[in-house]
Amino acid sequence: MKALLIDDSIAMRALERAVLGQIGFDRFAQAESADEALARLDSFEPDLALIDAHLMGADGVSLVERLRMRDSTTPIVLIALEQFRRRAGEAIDAGASTCVFKPFTPDLLSQRVLEAMEQGDA
């Protein structure tokens, strides 16, 4: 399975890659910006997109909207700091499958990703 990791933190991308690798993902593409993410989306055709809600210079919700306009089916998991919680509904309305708030345990991230994948299959 293929995952697109959209995060401007190299350390967080490494963590996400390690966690997703444990649940069957074996191909990864990475993006540090919204524009790079949109460019990678078409060529990589991921089974999952993991998005940092606090990308430098971009709003996480608007990026979800832009991704959804290009791809209506790929599960999108938004990773956010606690202060984003009150915007979680807005993110879901924009097309995110779920939100995971930092700090999280690897088990929680795995669980939310698997749930999002199941929703996508339904």
Partner: protein, 169 residues
């Protein structure tokens, strides 16, 4: 005077963040009402926050401890990858900052981390900010975390910040 309520918030935020993200147990030591100055071998990550409350969180640790913390976060052994080490400590600092104010209902913006190595050029005793500083020990080394408060709006004030503001007087 040390604000014990604020110290508890900081302890909770730090221990929760490191336990969840790194599976690392932090043992808090005695909190202080003033910051300690870094040595030339320390890495410092500062994350500011603004809104109804303004201030910053500073996480300070030795270079070797920073490398071990970053290795735990990325799930791989890091050696000389300075960018990844700084990035990892900055990310964790942002999480601690967000957790300190996790129950704050107003608009609060957590800013991007600033990383520095070595001594800082400002004398904290000269500014008007208030501090809670807590040393933590762990099996990867010691970590110092400072919470600096610069301003708290008087109104409106939720229950959590009533306690914090009273203790700072």
């Amino acid at each position: 005077m040390l604000d014990l309520g604020l110290a508890e918030r900081l302890k909770g935020a730090a221990t929760r963040t490191m336990a969840r993200m790194l599976d690392l147990h932090l043992e808090p030591q005695t909190p202080m009402a003033f910051p300690t100055l870094p040595s030339s071998r320390d890495l410092s990550a500062e994350v500011g926050f603004s809104g109804r409350i303004e201030g910053s969180i500073v996480v300070r640790l030795g270079i070797d401890t920073a490398r071990r913390v970053a290795s735990l976060l990325t799930r791989r052994e890091l050696d000389t990858e300075a960018d990844q080490i700084c990035d990892a400590v900055g990310e964790l600092t942002a999480m601690v900052a967000s957790q300190v104010w996790a129950d704050e209902q107003g608009d609060l913006v957590v800013h991007a981390p600033l990383i520095s190595i070595g001594e800082i050029d400002s004398d904290p005793s000269l500014d008007d900010r208030r501090y809670v500083s807590i040393p933590f020990v762990s099996h990867v080394g010691s970590i110092q975390i400072d919470l600096r408060i610069g301003a708290v709006e008087a109104e409106p004030c939720g229950p959590a910040m009533v306690g914090a503001a009273e203790g700072l007087e």
